[in-house]
Symmetry: C2
Subunit: 164 residues, 2 copies
């Protein structure tokens, strides 16, 4: 396992995130992972920041709303089946970890665990969120929300970034 | 001038943005540029996205609120003096372009021009914004806002990214 600079790996990470990465969130006894395909990475509030988006219809939404942190595990190997399952099935109906044989590993700096797979891992403390106000959304993007289940944008301060 | 992949240059661009880059916005007759040091870059809503933040106390705020696009010009050469001036002086009091001898060049795809300097240039169409609600901001970040002049986060779809 090696520490990596979050921006130095941003290009590689984003290429894979577009195909699917795992957002994992724990709040107390509640734990879930879901596939994300969107993210932004950068530097805001004098801190390294990782932004992810969760629709309010998601099982993960109820967990992350009560959580203090999240992790993003970006697989380097072929995880197509798990990515598909965790992106289309709900943690309300399935234990995704069991179904996809995904093991977790403790976060080094977060209560939320990572998915124990080869790849790049981001551990992030939630420092800001912005529920999307559709009034401010471009009209041409509205077709992404036929159910009006808009995303909340979560901004995580990157506490740790490593690869294995 | 060469087209570049926005994520391939993200690491290099962010290194410089942290030291200062130029956010340039035109709305009708109104035009201003200001120094930014914060940004995130990634992929959201199935599009390449560049996020910037503008405090509501800024002269640029009044312009970008009426604008449809913005550009970010990331200098490759030494622009310390202009970066300092454009980050500390207001467009209300100075013609920054004249004071700093900054020439603009027409945007290829935006109404907002770029700053005509060697570096990386992002042309972005505003597709979403989120005025920061301090209720959702981490307490430890509050000291960045002694005047309570919170940022509005602007999300730009990257229409063009090039270097010269």
């Amino acid at each position: 396992m090696k520490e990596v600079d979050y921006m130095a790996v941003a290009d590689k990470a984003m290429k894979q995130i577009k195909k699917g990465a795992f957002l994992t969130v724990r709040s107390g006894e509640k734990l879930n992972t879901m596939t994300i395909g969107w993210a932004t990475i950068g530097f805001v509030w004098k801190k390294p920041i990782f932004m992810i988006a969760v629709r309010d219809s998601r099982h993960t939404f109820g967990i992350i709303e009560e959580a203090v942190d999240f992790t993003v595990s970006v697989p380097s190997g072929d995880m197509k089946a798990a990515v598909m399952f965790c992106g289309t099935k709900s943690g309300r109906d399935y234990d995704k970890f069991k179904e996809c044989r995904l093991n977790t590993a403790d976060g080094r700096k977060t209560a939320s665990p990572i998915i124990d797979i080869p790849g790049i891992h981001f551990e992030c403390r939630i420092v800001f969120k912005a529920p999307m106000d559709p009034v401010y959304l471009d009209q041409t993007y509205e077709d992404l929300y036929p159910e009006k289940d808009y995303h909340t944008l979560y901004f995580g301060e990157i506490l740790d970034c490593y690869e294995f």
